[in-house]
């Protein structure tokens, strides 16, 4: 029969009549217990997978005391777990023969260390046998039982990987009979209290002497040559092959020590007397070599001992034929010197293929959820099992590893010393093996840590042995010792059970809950190992497998309009996206079709088309520099816009109707304030080399500044003209400083001027400069005049009527410091200018300020939060009031009611006859809109009287004159004005340089050019609920008489929390989360695109649930 060395051990034990077998699996010993598990019933052997090696050895000893032959098996590491009982068994002595099989692992092929178990022989008074081949393993196992009974000592059968995992023909012996003689009461011999122990100690030398006789018999010398080689274990067999290969058998006497302790002293001395030198071949430590040195000294022998001490052989690792051949040449000149073989060209560059968690492994989903929940710098401690493969990228969930059960201990110890909340991972089998005491210890000490028990139902790593937690009944998995109950019984209060494959969202939230809890949190992850499950059922665990939808994978919805960012994203950003998608709680069985949309609603409704989810993701990941780059690559006036934007994005945010829209502009503000604190702005816009074309930009408001910035980046010389002395336009003169402090605006303006934009203030178009002259002296002209002309409000004024003033003029005067104080102020209008003017009047000392608007509150064009802020400051806001006259001491208002829709589609306010009433006031501010001064411009007009301007290029009827902002109509906000500036720069560049123009595209006119304008708030589903973060505000009482900025910035923690609320509604072109974060081996890259290998996909569907782009779909049904 062809047997593995491990199986030969089992055959030997059965031939010896073994009646009890136990063990704990561990490579390379596992096939010993596996074979017993298969055969025990048929062979009438009592067998168990013990919960750990200590229990296994104690059980075997108990069986021996019961008069049965007993065997127990474990790997070298497990033998150390069983150290305590092992030390006392030789004192008490065995009854039935007891054999301990311990498999060593030279070269650490499947273990964290090598160790030489032979030293336990002299240390604990235990005979040690060391088989050389599978056949030898059978013979020595059978013999070990007799040896054990003769000497009353347990026998250690030490094998190594090379013997355990070699499969070779093995000759069987006769089957012995099983016998259980029964337990004989004899407490004085069986209870080693000190008085008895001292008596027992005195018996040990006699026992060892008995064993020594067997060792002498096992000593074997083959060949008669003059070169003496003394070998043990696998190297003895390898050496025989090498000698055969060299044809050197006649020159050598090969002595094999199959019993290595007690030392066969007589045989060794006899051998040494024949030789003047001896080569010792033994793997790991110089155990025999040192014994020979001691023997030589004791017996006065002059033999030279060659081996590890002499440098002929290395100490670590397995001995290959090459190593042995080299030693034979060096020691005796046998054979030929080995030349180092050069590696074949190129093979060194072959990609490595380390082991990974299988496709569909629940551990991967657990680790993915943990990494999604905990911060990037979270410390994770791992343990021994398949889940050790969380080590390394992309899962990175093993910061340290020691031994079975230490995952929790390491987490606890590091937590106690650093004060950081740590996470320990451990499998179900390991938990029962030695994880319970460390968990109890951590609970006792109230350590701040999260203990995660990965219960896949089976001891998977070593070949699917049963776990104490689960068993099989009629082929079905049944729970025996529920881990959660065990944890609770140990005193754990916070215990959660999750299944990351069935409920990834719930698992992430459980981890987040544990992250924020105090003391020990326990999370039990229950999902059966799918490989084990399909072995049990004979069917794949899922019939459906998945494939990539190439139209959605790594696709940016902005590509079609030339606005794709092409900026890298970080792992943290990908994690934020994947977490957000996973928290929607869809399952692979019921995914949401066609989600996400190509472009998120916020971006569609942003006049600048900013990629909000992009910079939110960078902020969530703590990558502020990347966020800054993404914002500034599209927004030339970020310090201003992050304070004054009208935020159409937030109105359409999917969270708006639930836990509040994401505070998008506050996020931008956070990044800009972060950048302002740097010594140097960590962003340099890409600038083309200068060329000889120049553009005159008339008007230094937001549209003009944006165009000037963009044109400079495109290499144009730019002169920026403005009627005012300083650049900024409305930003400087129209928006009060408690909303936009001068420092913030200065940062924006300085950055633009620093690019080399020349500013000429005090130039009024038509008075100081002529359009015709500008067209003469520049390649193109951009008119961005803004709306300086106040709208007319023709009201009959009686004598004694209060003074009235245009609101913008009032705001400008406030900036100049020339405000007059009025006790009572009435502001007519409902836009931002009205609210700003009212709030300014309040700060200038007005006791009573009224904003009067002729339509309803919902229709007020001002930013809603600004209206609220005004109300907080004690400003009265009244709607449905239409002024009819300025009378002595005040304004006459009539009430209105909504009538038929007007041209704008809004209900026309109709005056209610007879409702006129006098409102007493000292000053009237008119904020009923402004219009541009167009009179002098000989350019084509629209029917409405505005300039006819191309909405995509800002071109006018004159080929070299462009216009935008207020001039083109419709630009009512700062952000929209900036968009006009960018479009004008693009239009100018394209008209002047044609195809040479830089391909950086401006934002399209609102929504019309998006490839998917249908993006809507149709869909909202989240497992989490996190309220919107609010930035600090000055209290209404303090701020109403101060011009200090009212709204502050989010703190860093707030900003990251708020950014992580982003639901990532749009697709991302830079995403590779499946490979970068999840790392399922079914994913591979083909032509730069992610693909799924149908042969490798296990169909778990976890990737479907978190794929940020919704790009993974069911493929064929598997037969």
């Amino acid at each position: 029969m062809l047997l593995l060395g491990n199986e030969a051990v089992v055959r030997g034990a059965i031939e010896a009549g073994v009646a009890f077998a136990s063990g704990y699996p561990g490579t390379p010993s596992s096939e010993v217990t596996d074979a017993f598990a298969r055969l025990a019933k048929r062979a009438g052997i009592v067998f168990e997978y013990s919960v750990n090696e200590k229990v296994a050895i104690e059980m075997a000893f108990a069986a021996s005391l019961a008069g049965a032959r007993a065997i127990t098996a474990m790997k070298h590491l497990g033998l150390m777990v069983a150290g305590d009982p092992l030390t006392t068994i030789p004192y008490i002595g065995v009854r039935g023969g007891m054999v301990i099989v311990s498999a060593g692992d030279p070269s650490c092929l499947t273990s964290p260390n090598e160790q030489d178990q032979r030293y336990l022989g002299p240390m604990l008074h235990i005979p040690v046998l060391d088989p050389t081949t599978p056949q030898d393993a059978l013979t020595l196992t059978r013999l070990a039982f007799e040896l054990s009974e003769r000497s009353s000592l347990p026998v250690l059968l030490r094998i190594t990987t090379r013997v355990a995992h070699t499969r070779a023909p093995v000759l069987y012996g006769a089957l012995g009979t099983r016998e259980v003689r029964g337990f004989e009461r004899d407490p004085r011999r069986l209870v080693p209290i000190p008085a008895n122990a001292r008596v027992m100690r005195m018996q040990i030398p006699k026992r060892l002497d008995t064993a020594r006789r067997t060792m002498e018999e096992l000593f074997r010398v083959e060949g008669e040559g003059a070169c003496i080689v003394l070998a043990s274990g696998a190297p003895a067999a390898t050496c025989a092959d090498v000698l055969h290969e060299l044809g050197a058998e006649a020159n050598v006497a090969l002595a094999t020590m199959r019993g290595v302790y007690p030392f066969p002293e007589q045989a060794l001395v006899n051998l040494l007397r024949r030789a003047d030198k001896v080569l010792v071949l033994e793997e790991l430590s110089p155990f025999i070599e040192d014994t020979l040195l001691a023997l030589s000294a004791r017996h006065g022998l002059s033999v030279t001992t060659l081996g590890k001490r002499s440098g002929h052989l290395p100490e670590p690792f397995e001995y290959t034929p090459e190593i042995i051949a080299r030693a034979l040449f060096d020691a005796f000149g046998l054979g030929t010197p080995h030349s180092a073989t050069a590696p074949a060209p190129g093979t060194a560059d072959l990609p490595a293929r380390p082991p990974v968690l299988c496709s569909g492994c629940p551990h991967r989903a657990t680790y993915f959820a943990a990494r999604a929940a905990f911060p990037e710098d979270q410390l994770f401690f791992s343990d021994i099992g398949c889940y050790t493969l969380g080590f390394g990228p992309p899962l990175d969930t093993a910061d340290a590893l020691l031994c079975m059960g230490a995952g929790f201990t390491l987490a606890a110890g590091v937590s106690r010393m650093t004060g950081k909340r740590t996470v320990g991972f451990m499998g179900d089998s390991t938990f029962f093996h030695s994880g319970i005491p460390p968990l109890l210890n951590a609970i006792k000490e109230s350590v701040s840590m999260v203990a995660v028990i990965l219960d896949n139902g089976v001891t998977a790593m070593t070949g699917f042995q049963e776990s104490p937690a689960t068993g099989l009944e009629n082929g079905k998995i049944t729970h025996r010792a529920p881990i959660a109950d065990v944890a609770r019984a140990l005193g754990a209060n916070d215990v959660q059970i999750v299944d990351p494959v069935k409920d990834l969202a719930g698992t992430i939230l459980a981890f987040e809950g544990a992250r924020d809890a105090k003391g020990v949190s326990v999370i039990v992850v229950e999902h059966p190992c799918p490989v084990w499950e399909s072995r049990l059922t004979g069917a794949p665990s899922s019939r459906t497998i998945f494939e990539i939808d190439p139209d959605r994978c790594a696709t940016c919805g902005r590509s079609g309009c030339g606005m794709r960012c092409d900026l890298d994203i970080s792992r943290g950003h990908e994690r934020h996206m994947a977490r957000s998608r996973a928290l929607e709680g869809w399952t692979a069985a019921a995914p949401e079709a066609a989600w996400p949309q190509p472009v998120a609603p916020c971006a569609v409704h942003c006049p600048l088309g900013l990629c909000v989810q992009g910079y939110a993701g960078h902020i969530a990941a703590g990558q502020y520099e990347r966020a800054l780059a993404l914002i500034m690559s599209r927004l030339p006036l970020p310090d201003s816009v992050c304070r004054v934007c009208h935020k159409p994005c937030e109105e359409v945010c999917v969270r708006a109707g639930h836990d509040g829209p994401v505070a998008i502009n506050d996020l931008k503000r956070f990044v800009m304030d972060w950048a302002a604190r740097r010594e140097r702005l960590p962003y340099d816009p890409p600038k083309e080399p200068d060329h000889d074309r120049s553009v005159a930009v008339v008007g230094a408001g937001p549209a003009g500044l944006a165009a000037a910035h963009e044109l400079r980046l495109r290499g144009y010389a730019v002169i920026l003209y403005d009627a005012e002395a300083e650049p900024g336009g409305l930003l400087r003169y129209g928006i009060p400083q408690f909303r936009l402090p001068p420092d913030a605006l200065r940062r924006d303006v300085d950055r633009i001027l620093a690019l080399g934009v020349a500013f000429q203030g005090g130039c009024f178009l038509g008075r100081d400069i002529k359009l015709s002259a500008l067209v003469e002296s520049h390649s193109a002209v951009f008119l961005a005049l803004g709306a300086q002309m106040p709208a007319r409000l023709d009201l009959p004024a009686s004598p004694g009527a209060p003074p009235h003033l245009d609101a913008l003029a009032y705001l400008k005067r406030a900036k100049d410091g020339g405000l007059t104080t009025a006790r009572r102020v009435v502001v007519i209008g409902g836009g931002n200018a009205a609210v700003d003017a009212a709030r300014t009047a309040r700060r200038a000392g007005a006791l009573h300020v009224l904003i009067a608007y002729r339509r309803g509150r919902e229709e007020m064009p001002a930013i809603a939060t600004e209206i609220d802020a005004a109300a907080e400051e004690g400003i009265e806001v009244r709607t449905h009031l239409q002024p009819t006259a300025l009378a002595a001491g005040g304004v006459v208002f009539a009430r209105t009611q909504p009538g038929a829709p007007d041209a704008s589609g809004r209900p026309r306010p109709l005056v209610v006859e007879g409702s006129e009433e006098l409102y007493e006031t000292d000053l009237v501010l008119l904020a009923t809109g402004q219009s541009p001064a167009l009179d002098d411009l000989a350019l084509e007009r629209t029917d409405g009287g505005g300039l006819r301007v191309d909405s995509e290029t800002a071109a006018t009827s004159h080929p070299r004159v462009f216009a935008g902002g207020d001039l083109a109509g419709g630009a009512r906000t700062v952000t929209e004005a900036i968009a006009w500036g960018l479009r004008a720069a693009w239009g100018i560049d394209r008209s002047l340089r044609g195809a040479e123009a830089s391909d950086r595209r401006p934002p399209a006119p609102l929504m019309s050019a998006w490839p998917h304008p249908q993006t809507q708030r149709t869909r909202y589903r989240r497992a989490d609920n996190v309220w919107r973060q609010a930035p600090p505000h000055l209290l209404p009482d303090t701020r109403a008489d101060s011009f200090d900025e009212v709204v502050g910035a989010l703190t860093e923690a707030q900003a990251r929390t708020e950014a992580a609320r982003c639901a990532v509604c749009g697709m991302c072109g830079n995403c590779r989360a499946c490979i970068d974060l999840f790392g399922c081996p079914a994913f591979y890259l083909a032509d730069g695109h992610v693909a799924i290998d149908p042969g490798a996909c296990n169909g778990c569907g976890v990737c479907v649930v978190f794929c940020p782009n919704g790009a993974i779909r069911p493929a064929l049904e598997r037969s």
Binding site: M1, L2, T27, P28, S30, T110, T132, T161, R162, H165, T166, R167, A168, P169, A234, A237, T238, A240, D241, H244, E245, T320, P321, E322, T341, P343, A344, G346, T347, L350, P351, A352, R353, P354, P355, V356, L357, C358, C386, L389, P393, P394, M461, T462, G463, R1072, I1075, D1076, G1079, P1081, F1083, Y1084, L1085, A1086, D1087, G1088, V1090, D1093, G1095, A1096
Partner: protein, 197 residues
Amino acid sequence: MTPNGRFRLLVVGVGGQGVLSVARVLGEAALAEGKPVVLGQLHGMSQRGGSVESTVVIGPGYSSFIGPAAADALLALEPIEALRAVPRLSRRARVVISTGKVPPFTLAQKGLPYPDLSGMLSALREATCEVVTLDGPAIARAAGSSRSLNLVMLGALAALQILPLDPQSIVRVVESACPGGPAGRRAFALGMKAVSP
């Protein structure tokens, strides 16, 4: 075969492909012929999609090592794994390779495609006695079980008569104790046919 009569076959592949089963069948076939045989195999972490190898050494002796330039033949269930074994091949080695690629996950993580191995494969043809390649996965699918790639390749190896074994002894082991059932037997037969003239 070495002068003193041991023939060394290296079987390589990826965890899960059935490398160990191939070696086992060859071992049983040798045993049936009464030839001494030793198989070496590495268990443990290599099963989780890692590189796996098994050695089949036929002839008198104990150890299952195949050292540098010592293999008389190579059966590779995956091309990268075949090339990884090149330093172990002797100049007289005969090589059978399944061309079906299993991309190592480390490549995707680094953003790299499966490497172009054609140059290295032609170098392998220069450096060894014979290289036979076949599309193992396609033949396995034709046999009705994509999991029986190992038996396809075993069939090819048997038909090429590379080993010092009678192909019929291998056939008999496959037919009596085939791990893959009827589809496995079909795969083995198709593998044999694929390389037969």
